[in-house]
Amino acid sequence: MARAVTPARKATVTVFAWGVGLLIFFPILWTILTSFKTEAEAIASPPSFVGFDWTLENYSTVMERSNYFLHFLNSVVISVGSTLIGLLVAIPAAWSMAFVPGKRTKDVLMWMLSTKMLPPVGVLIPIYLIFRDTGLLDTRTGLVIVLTLINLPIIVWMLYTYFKEIPVDILEAARMDGASLRAEIIYVLTPMAVPGIASTLLLNIILAWNEAFWTLNLTAANAAPLTAFIASYSSPEGLFYAKLSAASTMAIAPILIMGWFSQKQLVRGLTFGAVK
């Protein structure tokens, strides 16, 4: 039982916590605000917080001048595609490890995790050359392949920890009821694991959306997702803060919202179940 806290103490903590929270959030807030300013106001001194002429001009400029929609679509295709394929491969694997554990299951799990620890730069060159020779450079397919592979261990692990919580009795009951393995996975396991599968999906879309090593190195104009598109603002000409802010806001908004929904699962997913 928590003890009652005096209102005065609670008020102090409230002020303090909100202050710190806003400070940490401020760069994002500032980016969002700046995206609604004109370029002149964006660099005005003193800077204004809300007392400026709100405009949507930057958003339309970003959309018009660059192929923003293409990059957005690339991000969606790459992150969702790699996550879905990953799930398709990982669900059967996690089923095996959670419900038919053998002597080597633990070793396989650990080995899968170890592939995630491979520094990407260690395999950059061969992947780059293979992609160059097979025409996969700067294609969505190529990125989907790479992101599926780098996130597969996380997907398997997350699903494994969720599946472990489903009593094996229920799967055995399905077997007794005449269900084939396929029916068991489709009608019993998957619906029961929906919350776990959903948070795995969400977290992996987020990770893939924000992945910035492979996307920067393996794409140019065609398949570049938003991470790479935004990077093109690093050598700008003229006034560009407001436009950078608009592009940035559009790039982070969808994932910020998904992230807030998945924050509870985040801890478990990213620590491979070590902290729950």
Binding site: A17, P27, W95, M117, V121, I125, P126, L129
Partner: protein, 290 residues
């Protein structure tokens, strides 16, 4: 416990994942290893020849290599210190009852979801720019000379940017761990006459130690590979001031097209990451038994 039927089914269903990851690991790794012993430049195709340990000697004696190792250590260490200390303090704060807990939690966690290129560019331009940045404005407002962060303190600036992104991660994990602490333990300690400080050091911190270790290990894995933040802010410079190992290998192979030396660097990076990985895997492996 299972039947032969389900065992063979299990083997069948796990094989796609295993084969994919096996391919992903073995093919590029062996190629990297192979290239690292070749003289191989992308600008001179067809002139590849066996080079023995030449690439390693070249890469390891390059002054840039020592800078890169040093920068990598500083970057990893700096971000870890900031995120762990900040994370513990924030977790303690957010664990207190106050109005709007849910919203503040959302505000604090937000930076983790910002893609690295966005956070780096926003910080570089809108905050750290010596002319139009918000920091420059603040400095001028109190009568100080604006400071050109990325020119005069480039590595510290990058550490700050990266730490901002990882602070939420550390906070969230430490907060989760803190909330799993049995409040009766704290109350018992209070009954025993322990002050807040001794409760923190003797009960909370030991309880958090496991979560802290996990944070350190996982962040280290990711921090060893920081790349985008460097690429869009300083491009590794000025000089080699912000070149870490990852960036050095990238520059060596894709900017100077020296695949051989780049591969040797890649192998070195793999060895370093493995040292961290071994510790992390032990931790997680232990948890698997519990």
């Amino acid at each position: 416990m299972a039947t032969q039927h389900s065992k063979s089914a299990a083997r069948f269903m796990i094989s796609p994942a295993v084969l994919l990851l096996l391919g992903w690991m073995l093919i590029p790794l062996s190629l990297t290893l192979y290239f690292s012993f070749l003289r191989y430049n992308l600008l001179m195709p067809g002139t590849e020849e066996w080079a023995g340990f030449l690439n390693y000697r070249f890469f390891l004696t390059d002054p840039a290599f020592f800078d890169a190792i040093w920068n990598t250590l500083l970057l990893v260490g700096g971000v870890l210190v900031i995120t762990i200390v900040g994370g513990v303090l924030l977790a303690l704060l957010l664990d207190q009852p106050f109005w709007g807990q849910g919203i503040v939690r959302i505000l604090v966690i937000a930076p983790f979801f910002v893609m690295p290129t966005v956070s780096a560019l926003v910080w570089k331009n809108m905050f750290m720019n010596p002319v139009n940045g918000l920091f420059a404005f603040l400095a001028k407002a109190v009568g100080l000379e604006p400071f050109d962060f990325l020119a005069h303190a480039p590595l510290s600036s990058i550490i700050l940017i990266v730490a901002w992104g990882w602070l939420p991660f550390a906070t969230l994990i430490l907060l989760t761990a803190l909330q799993s602490l049995d409040s009766e333990q704290l109350e018992a300690a209070e009954m025993d006459g322990a002050s807040w400080l001794s409760r923190f050091f003797y009960i909370m911190l030991p309880h958090l130690s496991r979560a802290i270790t996990v944070v350190i290990l996982i962040q280290t894995i990711f921090l060893l590979s920081v790349f985008a933040e460097i690429l869009v802010t300083t491009n590794g410079g000025p000089g080699t001031a912000t070149t870490n190992l990852t960036f050095l290998v990238y520059a060596q192979s894709l900017l100077q097209f020296d695949v051989g030396a780049g591969s040797a660097g890649g192998v070195v990076a793999i060895i370093l990451a493995n040292i961290v990985a071994i510790f992390l895997m032990r931790m997680i492996g232990k948890n698997l038994d519990a």
